[in-house]
């Protein structure tokens, strides 16, 4: 639940999602769910020449199971709050 809550805080921010098939997509985080499925808006594919089929895709849904990384803006994270939440979660379980 921790990461679900964490991503909810990031809705509206620009992120780059790198998938396990090496496709990387930059976009605005529209929504996330408990499986960490992600919906991005106004996407821009990194290295778009390699993926011509993605040309007209503006919004997309990404299945959580295929995500390798979610790259965030460096100032998009309040690390202290994240630390506290993690400690609380570790203590609780």
């Amino acid at each position: 639940m921790l990461f679900f809550s964490y991503f909810k805080e990031l809705v509206g921010k620009e992120v780059t999602v790198e998938l396990k098939n090496d496709l990387a997509i930059r976009g605005t985080l529209h929504s996330v769910d408990q499986y960490l499925n992600i919906k991005l808006e106004n996407i821009k594919v990194v290295d778009e020449g390699k993926y011509p089929h993605m040309l007209s895709v503006r919004n997309c849904f990404i299945r959580g199971s295929v995500v390798r990384y979610v790259q965030l803006p460096p100032d998009g994270v309040d690390v202290d709050i994240l630390h506290d939440a993690t400690r609380r979660e570790a203590r609780g379980s």
Partner: protein, 128 residues
């Protein structure tokens, strides 16, 4: 798609907004399917109507019609909403027939296999 609390309702990552839209579905095996979303569930199992597979080899492409498809969610990588105001493919790409794209696919596969086997033969030399 998720057990949403009242504050989460607005935030749900649901495919409902994609219903009856023409979508691009990327599969784990690298295939690209296009079609109209008619149904989905919490596993991202998906029903596509009028599905076709868009095969791209270099600058050549071809849409192979498939009909009504049920896709198991575990194979889904990405579901993209196609913007009707933008071109689906770059202008320099050439639409070819099904036999021609299959020939191009075979040639590409053979070239990759050849590269792979040549690399294996060179590996024992330990050049790097």
């Amino acid at each position: 798609m998720s057990f949403a609390g009242p504050e989460d309702i607005l935030l749900s990552t649901s495919l409902a907004s994609y219903l009856d839209k023409k979508l691009l579905v990327l599969l784990r095996d690298g295939r690209k399917l296009l079609g109209i979303l008619r149904s989905f569930d919490q596993f991202a199992n998906v029903v596509l109507e009028g599905a076709c597979e868009r095969v791209i080899v270099g600058d050549l492409f071809c849409d192979i019609p498939l009909g009504l498809y049920v896709i198991r969610g575990e194979n889904v990588v990405l579901i993209g909403e196609l913007d009707s105001e933008r071109e689906e493919l770059p202008a320099h790409m050439i639409c070819v027939s099904v036999p021609e794209i299959k020939r191009a696919q075979k040639a590409e596969r053979e070239a990759t296999d050849l590269k792979g086997s040549m690399r294996k033969r060179m590996e024992f030399l330990d050049l790097d």
